[in-house]
Symmetry: C2
């Protein structure tokens, strides 16, 4: 049978993995799809660059249009990343009837709707399993494995860099800045780590997962984001003392079709399966009304894990081509998007206060909680080992975000409180 | 659009869940498949039985042929279980062009090849996600999510009953018999628990997973099985002391296309993600050459979780019907099956010996290991608190099964050893 010809946009880490798998597993892949798979053109940044992997130089080009306009190419695998010019290439390729496999979370989070519509109009497939949680097939799981269920909660550790940093901070009592530097030296963090540590990368992935899980078009701007750059050694110490691990969690929730999606450092109860997901590993916890609790765990990034997902998508697209059913991907966002207000978002809170150590402080503080109807699970006042003041550690019961905002606003004006040192969501 | 008509064989726990989901999620399901789904006939054992769920009595029948021969029925959902007469019904249904969704691990493990061939010959689909690990979409994951990878190891906690028993034994220091009785009272174990506690249920599931993961037809008789009925309180205590949890693991391994599949109580290192899978939960750990370590966790049984998988399969079949691509399931077992010999299966071992407490005992014992080239990770001799003898606790490095068999045989003849109290595989 005629080989399926693939054009590869990008020959960085993931692109190299894709070439390795397609070449190394060729026999298995052909057995599954019924024909050889051939990577016939590769867009590279620099033809002269030395590569670990030998690739026939005739296959490589620095001109994207050599790949996109090649009439023999059936599928474009996009692993170059970024929004532009990548989006333009994908749209052009779709207009030429080429199917797309992409690992590009930024593009799918920001322009997924437009790209899927363009694909449908051209009877093309667009698969993007590798865009979220690297080697974990979570997109398939939400689309197919749980197609029958009503998913009400998705909690994800979907950024390996921040999970590596928080794990190190927790296991070694290290400070954020030190671990970040170490992560950069090891290649786990970028030289500009903003997108990872400020939660933007996780937010993009959560927008994609929430869209699939809740069947409504959740956009990036619908995700409320807070990163880990202000998480202190002390916060992690307190978390552990109370039986929690600090994790950067993406949390997407639905109640009666009202949705909220947040990314924020969260204290996760140590009995919860997400609490023991360490290092650069990712995990996605899914709660469905019928299925209950499930969790999917694996490597969230890296050459070979991400390439596994890319090539699995390639296999799926080729099967669809063989069966003549491309361009038939189910329309997932068939529901109107309704976002929760701050009144409707509720969770437990951890609060650490630095207070003046004098009589009546605790009474004044608890009065504020009472005023806004927030009930408390535990309150501990203790001397601050570093200065003459005291610290108060509070864990609330579930309280609405709007009530908590009012509590914290009032705290800012309360003379007995020197500062609100930390406030975190608590889960599990 | 004309509703898709479904015939349901069996209205026990899972069948009831299927009716609940199809009725309760009708709007979501129709949005996904493009037409209503109607359960138009249900085979029940006893029409007169009182049911929790109201079902129109005209829909129910005690005659299987009312369902199977009904020309309006498109898909048969089989949740009655057992080999015969179930297999006969499925074959008859396939011969009438009806697609099958089944939760029947016994049938798929024993007659999967024949059933899939019959399906292909009739251009029909057979989906069986619910047959392994209830609500965890592990079959899809192996077939599609990891289609690009070469899987080398699958380790599963795939039987909830035994995991419940071992968890209770570990957490409460309870004896096997006591926990089994409690599990029976709670409905977590059958009145005849043999199939669960002796590992047969897990073996069937592992045969299915190994077939999908390794692309070779692994039969039930290829799986070497040992149950948990001889696991003692003491074994679990020693495991914990050494940093392990006792789990009934199914372990399927492949090296250079040579396969081994076992089910046996195994000491799992407490840092391994499988070690913290507790109670009736299931989990499947998959190692792929490219993707590395992954794990899939969720409820392994129960009305709603299992029904979630059944109805997800139903959605998949109906999508295939709409696209006109039924009977096109990929042929997964395209490789010749080659089983490992005992020389080729190697793992770490835990051994607990009851010995006469006299000089030279340890020397005699270690000589036997040396004779058969088994090296040791740790040896601890200690007084037995219950009698005047001593206990020796040994953990070996990785050793072939044949060498270990020779060691244990020689131990049986060694006069210094009173008894081999336990021997377990060690993982992680």
């Amino acid at each position: 049978m005629r080989p399926i010809k693939v054009g590869l946009l990008g020959m960085g880490t993931v692109g190299t993995g894709v070439v390795r798998i397609v070449e190394g597993h060729q026999e298995d892949l052909s057995s599954q799809v019924g024909s050889p798979i051939q990577i016939s053109k590769i867009l590279v940044k620099d033809l002269a660059k030395q590569r670990h992997l030998h690739v026939n130089s005739e296959v490589m080009t620095e001109n994207p249009w050599d790949v996109i306009y090649d009439p023999d190419i059936d599928v474009i695998v996009e692993v170059m990343g970024g929004i532009e010019p990548t989006k333009g290439y994908i749209i052009e390729a779709l207009d030429r009837g080429k199917h797309i496999v992409t690992a590009n979370k930024d593009l799918m989070a920001l322009h997924g709707v437009e790209i899927m519509e363009k694909a449908k109009a051209n009877q093309c497939d667009v698969y993007y399993e590798a865009s979220v949680a690297g080697g974990i097939p979570i997109i398939r799981t939400l689309m197919e494995g749980f197609s029958s269920d009503r998913i009400t909660k998705i909690m994800g550790i979907v950024n390996g860099t921040t999970n590596y940093i928080l794990t190190k901070m927790s296991q070694e009592g290290a400070a954020y800045e030190d671990v970040l530097k170490e992560a950069q030296a090891l290649g786990y963090a970028e030289s500009d780590p903003t997108s990872d540590v400020e939660g933007l990368d996780a937010a993009r992935k959560m927008a994609i997962l929430a869209t699939l899980g809740f069947h409504a078009n959740v956009a990036l701007e619908d995700v409320s984001v807070r990163g880990i750059s202000n998480v202190s050694k002390q916060d992690i110490l307190y978390a552990k003392r109370l039986g929690y691990e600090m994790k950067l969690l993406g949390i997407a929730e639905r109640q009666d079709d009202q949705i909220s999606v947040v990314v924020q450092p969260t204290m996760v109860k140590s009995s919860h399966p997400l609490s023991s997901v360490n290092g650069v590993f990712n995990a996605v916890y899914v709660y469905g009304e019928a299925v209950g609790e499930t969790m999917f765990y694996g490597p969230g990034a890296g050459e070979m894990p991400t390439a596994t997902s890319v090539v699995a998508d390639l296999v799926a697209v080729i099967r669809n081509m063989r069966l003549g059913v491309t361009g038939q991907q189910a329309h997932h966002a068939y529901k109107e998007k309704k976002l929760k207000t701050d009144d409707q978002i509720a969770y437990k809170n951890f609060i650490l206060l630095d207070v003046h150590d004098k009589a009546g402080v605790l009474a004044k503080i608890t009065q504020v909680f009472t005023k806004f109807n927030v009930s408390l699970e535990s309150v501990v006042q203790q001397p601050n080992p570093h200065n003459p003041d005291a610290e108060i550690v509070i864990v609330t019961h579930e309280a609405s975000q709007s009530s908590m905002n009012k509590v914290l606003n009032e705290f800012n004006q309360l003379d007995v409180i020197k500062s609100i040192k930390s406030a975190y969501r608590v889960e599990g």
